[in-house]
Symmetry: C2
Subunit: 130 residues, 2 copies
């Protein structure tokens, strides 16, 4: 159950946006609130915007906001974007007697995916996990 810093930062940033009053939130504010290295955060926010999770506006009074209501954005949505798994099918082969091990991993992975796509940022904000 390894979670990269990048992924954690992305989730925390989106949570900030979910919890903020309507209107753009500048990256700097998020960086301070969540203690995230500024330039790195830029990087991540850009990726989220390209993926359509958030929107942005440049210039003074600019910043970022959610592209959809928090109820409609799941943890899995964000994670899939930042982990960017093109060749997610990195299944090793388990020769002979070790074959059944593969089923254990897929069971675990499936549970994980299910859980993460059931939790939205509305849940996180309300601290009410389903």
């Amino acid at each position: 159950m390894r979670i990269s810093a990048r992924t954690q930062y992305a989730l925390r940033a989106v949570t900030e946006l979910a919890a903020a009053p309507p209107g753009p939130v500048p990256a700097e504010k998020i960086a301070v609130a969540q203690n995230i290295p500024r330039r790195f955060l830029d990087n991540i926010l850009l990726q989220l915007r390209r993926a359509g999770i958030i929107n942005s506006q440049r210039g003074p009074e600019g910043g970022y906001w959610l592209a959809r209501p928090p109820e409609e954005i799941t943890l899995a949505d964000v994670i899939m974007v930042v982990e960017g798994n093109p060749e997610h099918s990195q299944r090793a082969d388990y020769p002979g007697v070790a074959r059944p091990l593969a089923d254990v991993w897929s069971a675990l992975r499936e549970h994980e995916e299910t859980l993460l796509s059931e939790i939205t940022f509305a849940h996180i904000m309300k601290d009410a996990l389903p």
Copy 2:
């Protein structure tokens, strides 16, 4: 759900031992059966022996065998040895509104640990997961 090569090798090696007829199995045989780099496997087996998962005997007719019956060795037992995370409490802090995210990770981790400590190598051998 990242699983290192080392961990996979360890599990596959133990599975081989579980499935083998009584008596020592040389590392070479495991390496071939499971297609694991030989020296690397040595390394892993040594670690498993030190942890009391397996026993060994040197010299001709030497090799490795399980220290306990397959019913009594769980996947978690092996994983804990090879991942060896003493400071497993690498919990990042989730400031402010992001706090509830921590609960998600612990729920996931807990489920994972539970599952892995319910599955034994007897299950794997019989391809009958609980």
